[in-house]
Symmetry: C2
Subunit: 234 residues, 2 copies
Amino acid sequence: MKGNISTSQSNNQELRFAVLAADVVLWTIKENELWLRLIPVNITPHFVNLAGLPGGLISPTETAEQSVERLITAKAQVASSKVYVEQLYTFSNINRDPRGRVVAVAYSGYVPWEKLSTAEREDKDSVYWRPISKLPKLAYDHKEIVAKALERLQSRITYSTLSSKLVDKEFTLTELEQVYEAVLGKDIDKRNFRKKILSLDLLKQLNKERRGLKQRPAKLYSFRSEEVKSIPTI
Amino acid sequence: MKGNISTSQSNNQELRFAVLAADVVLWTIKENELWLRLIPVNITPHFVNLAGLPGGLISPTETAEQSVERLITAKAQVASSKVYVEQLYTFSNINRDPRGRVVAVAYSGYVPWEKLSTAEREDKDSVYWRPISKLPKLAYDHKEIVAKALERLQSRITYSTLSSKLVDKEFTLTELEQVYEAVLGKDIDKRNFRKKILSLDLLKQLNKERRGLKQRPAKLYSFRSEEVKSIPTI
DNA sequence: CCAAAAGTGTTATGACTACACCCATGA
DNA sequence: TCATGGGTGTAGTCATAACACTTTTGG
């Protein structure tokens, strides 16, 4: 969370300006649902046994983006090179942190579940994944931050190639469709989806198939470009 | 701009955290073009005789939004109640302010030219309007901020009712069309525009006409709702 | 009566939606 | 041979884009 700013608070000098923090809503897709990365929060007496987003103070020697990179590794315990990050919104309510004035620059991060190591997938006491449908009570204004992040994700995925950051490098069309279904929370017609996504010429078909399941093998695709760009709505 | 943070700089205590500022890209439409509000910047030796966005430090006792409201009045010299404001992006490059570490939460503001008083329309030495096509050299990273604000404006106007914040309370369909043309920088077919905008049922036709010009009188409309909401793309 | 902008419809094309069956594999 | 998901096409509807002329007023 916000690190030990309780020490800062005793020093009035530093309260002449707001403290700047970064918080990250780190998304993945697992079992056809959106999940996000949480850590425990215990700041008595304000927050007892709650969860919160990975985050921490932005140091004067780093940009917000550099801070987020650092925090994804340190707090979310995920290699930041695997995560695609976009700035979300800056939250500056005066009482959002009961310990003092903290302005948070919030980011969304996206990582395919398949890209995570065993350790990164694990649920520890200190950091864990939770599905969006079963979020625990969150500390600070993190419920609001998550709501805004979800809204933005749902909007951005329909007019950009953001889905490429939530799917493995090589994927079947069904797997890509499931990313959209998990994010938008609704079923999509298989035939219409394939027609649309293929017509946009974003994908290249690989000479590979996903085999080994007890069903017809599925052709594998990858995105032509790693860049997230604007496209006509899906 | 950033106010007098030169005094802050002499005090190392305060540099243990970044200083937080708000900058505002205040847009209006005049003579079929986008204009924005600038103020002079003279911070020798870094910025000599440049222009910049109205802005200033966020105080520990106010939210970023409250700060923006205050700065629109104080620095842009426009009554903030006339301005519709949206958060744009937070800029945290370490060297964006040569005098020290300043993180800026940037906002876009929108005001119809017709809503401005004579004083607010005036060009003084200390504050003035400039068309987007003839911007002077800007201090800090304000060129980047303006670019991002323009991109966002162009995108948001096509899928929201943001145009209502750039047009007078009562307007002709041609006037509304001109808002879109000025923002998007391209001509729009009059018949298609009218069909589309009327089909969305956003406007109500008033029992009034704009008369007095040497041409056929035009019917006046207003938006049914003051809220800026999402709509199918124009 | 002239100049200027207001106002109005149609057609062709492309996009979107809804919908059902056969195919290839592993067990 | 069965269960499972992979893969495919059509028709109807709707939205979009292109395009030109008549109307009303003020001067």
